[in-house]
């Protein structure tokens, strides 16, 4: 066992060399080829720097400079696992599926560990992910240890499934790269409430990749609650392909972590499909959160809605980059994108970059961005009615976020999000 710890891209490549014989799928030629190819891509690209346009506002040096162990060697025991919200839950500790903490019995669909299912996943793993384009996806492809595989058969209503990810307490920084594959067959539906958390004092990298395939008329609600520990990094990438008449409803709450990126690539691939990407970023002093969305309208008569709200305290920094690409074939596209930031501190900073590329001529597409502080008149109005200043401020912040959250139609998901927002604020006000 070598004791030299490398940082940066080189560190990960070095550990890949040491681990490749122990990573799942080592006997499957196609997995090996996938990992080796990704390693070459990651070797060539390295961690993106701010010279790369897509990373202009997010500096990955704190991640690149850290020296991580792979989680394979320091697997924790699941301490600090939040209480389950419903009946079915898949639990991951340091990126590995933990059956003893999970409860998946009685599900009306197939769900299980990616490491276990790997021999049957050749056609699915990597079907959407683009390791050649996104360096962090190459990193994930090179080192993925596990993940969740979900297949909801045609016409089945899958109900609510929780996906809990926790990082365990550790002296040495750990990194884990789960790969989650989600497929809903024609007319199927599912709600996933994903919650990622970690201990306060541990430095770790959570680098998940989702590949989501929604067949005709399928409906997936995907509520992501990111509450990583204060020293945690989460760099997540979601790929979603949405076929005719299907709906992908994503809401991402970024409320934790030291440096976080929520990157979504969604393709409206079939006519009359719908994509909702909403989210809120609630940032305290010292946090950096980045939401980057790339939405392809690649079929006619599709609708997309994006509303992102960022609340910033102290010296925090928020980023929103949203690109909508309307292909020539995508006539009668109905697209809407709004991102708004509420600066509660003069030291906070938000960077906002909306981008529209429209190649079809019959299109309704609008976008907007606002940045502001709490409205002094609104605050005075509440206080003049006897409401103390702290409560008045929290009411206005919740109201600011409400517009994004009320778009989540699944009640369980919306309640979970509202609870997470209220939890953030009460901690903030305390």
């Amino acid at each position: 066992m070598n004791t030299v710890v490398h940082s940066g891209a080189e560190g990960f490549l070095h550990r890949f060399d040491g681990l490749r014989a122990r990573l799942p799928g080592q006997r499957l030629a196609w997995v090996q080829a996938l990992r080796e190819g990704a390693a070459e891509q990651f070797r060539a690209a390295g961690f993106p720097t701010r010279r790369v346009e897509a990373w202009k506002y997010t500096d990955l040096r704190p991640v690149a400079d850290a020296a991580f162990d792979e989680a394979l060697t320091i697997l924790g025991d699941g301490e600090g696992l939040p209480a389950p919200r419903g009946e079915r839950r898949a639990v991951f500790v340091d990126g590995r599926f933990r059956e003893e903490h999970s409860s998946l019995d009685g599900a009306s669909f197939a769900v299980g560990s990616l490491a276990h299912e790997l021999p049957r996943l050749e056609s699915r793993l990597g079907a959407l992910a683009r390791p050649g384009e996104e360096a962090l996806v190459a990193l994930n492809t090179m080192l993925f240890e596990d993940g969740l595989v979900i297949t909801v058969p045609a016409g089945i209503a899958g109900g609510v499934l929780e996906l809990s990810s926790i990082a365990s307490r550790s002296e040495r920084p750990s990194a884990f790269h789960p790969r989650h594959l989600i497929r809903l067959e024609a007319g199927a539906s599912l709600t996933i409430i994903e919650e990622a958390s970690g201990p306060e004092g541990t430095r770790y990298l959570h680098n998940p990749v989702f590949e989501i395939e929604l067949a005709e008329g399928a409906v997936l609600t995907h509520a992501r609650i990111q509450r990583e520990g204060v020293k945690g990094f989460q760099l997540g990438t979601v790929y979603a392909r949405i076929e005719a008449g299907a709906t992908y409803d994503n809401f991402t709450l970024n409320a934790g972590g030291r440096l976080v990126r929520n990157e979504i690539h969604a393709v409206l691939a079939g006519p009359k499909s719908t994509c909702h990407m909403n989210g809120a970023q609630l940032l305290r002093d010292g946090q950096h959160a980045d939401t980057t969305t790339v939405l392809d309208h690649a079929a006619p008569d599709c609708a997309s809605r994006q509303t992102y709200k960022t609340v910033l305290q102290g010296k925090s920094r928020g980023v929103f980059q949203g690109k909508i690409h309307v292909h020539q074939v995508a006539q009668r596209t109905d697209g809407y994108q709004m991102n708004q930031a509420l600066l509660l501190s003069p030291e906070a900073e938000i960077d906002s970059k909306p981008q529209l590329e429209i190649y079809a001529d019959d299109v309704k597409c609008s976008h907007g961005a606002t940045v502001g502080a709490l409205d002094a008149e609104q605050l005075f109005y509440l206080r003049a009615r006897g409401i103390p200043e702290g409560k008045a401020r929290s009411m206005l912040v919740e109201a600011f976020l409400q517009e994004a959250i009320e778009g989540v139609t699944d009640e369980t998901a919306r309640a979970a999000l509202e609870e997470a927002v209220a939890g953030w604020w009460s901690k903030e006000a305390a």
């Binding site: 002094a376 005075f380 509440l382 003049a384 009615r385 006897g386 409560k391 009411m395 919740e398």
Partner: protein, 248 residues
């Protein structure tokens, strides 16, 4: 009672109130009239504690309590209620939630038990009915999409729920048609009691036909230029503020 002595205040360094002396005994309703720019709204904001209105001298007490030393929410708990000339819209804040939060904050301040959602709803429905307002207004965002008249009625609804000891009505009549005016006036008159006083700020005499004041004060250039009975309002309506100017 409200007692104001030698009150001076400025906005952005510009003196607006130049020495106000005014007493409103408990149980009385006083009107303040005056031309635009005379300081009427400034007086109401200074009493309610709005930021940006700097008191440079004098005092204002309500039942012996120094208002000027308190935060806006403390003044509200002490019994001050300002009905806004332009009620503020609060998108995303439900009117019911807003009203209950305010009512419970005031009740806490008075040492009374807070109302739960059901108790609150019962009370709010009764008040809504008196003000001929639709229950629908509870479900909407505060003042969002309300007509001018609805906003003013929402102010009176808040006043009816919070039961202040001093109500300051800042041009509550502006933008109201005659029916709405009567409803608003009825709402104020219903609160009249030995421990309630009101300062009705208005540009026009019309409102004072429905809320008959005990006294009328004319505010000119930051000072009370003249004080009289209800007949003074009628006189101003006929001859305008120039006559006061000449007399002052």
């Amino acid at each position: 009672m409200l007692r104001i002595e030698g009150l001076t205040a400025e906005v952005d360094g510009k003196p607006i109130l130049k020495g106000i002396d005014l007493e409103v005994p408990a149980g009385e309703v006083h009107a303040i009239m005056g031309p635009n720019g005379s300081g009427k709204s400034t007086l109401s904001y200074v009493l309610a504690g709005r930021e940006g209105y700097e008191v440079t001298g004098g005092s204002a007490t309500l039942n012996g309590v120094d208002l000027l030393a308190m935060e806006p929410e403390e003044r509200a708990a002490a019994g001050v209620f300002l009905a806004f000339q332009y009620p503020v819209e609060l998108p995303g804040v439900g009117n019911a939630n807003f009203l209950r939060t305010a009512l419970n904050a005031i009740r806490r301040g008075k040492g009374e038990a807070e109302l739960d959602a059901m108790q609150f709803l019962k009370l709010a429905r009764a008040r809504l009915k008196e003000l001929q307002m639709s229950e629908d207004m509870l479900k909407r965002g505060v003042n969002v999409g309300f007509s001018g008249g609805e906003k003013k009625r929402n102010e009176v609804l808040q006043m009816a729920l919070l039961r202040p000891s001093l109500a300051i009505l800042d041009e509550t009549d502006s933008g109201l048609d005659i029916d709405a005016l009567k409803i608003v006036a009825d709402g104020v008159n219903a609160l009249r009691a030995p421990d309630f006083s009101a300062l009705v700020i208005t540009h026009y005499q019309r409102l004072l036909d429905y809320i008959v004041p005990d006294k009328v004060h004319v505010l000119m250039q930051g000072r009370i230029a003249q004080t009289g009975g209800p007949e003074l309002a009628k006189q101003l309506e006929a001859s305008g503020y120039a006559s006061v100017q000449a007399a002052a």
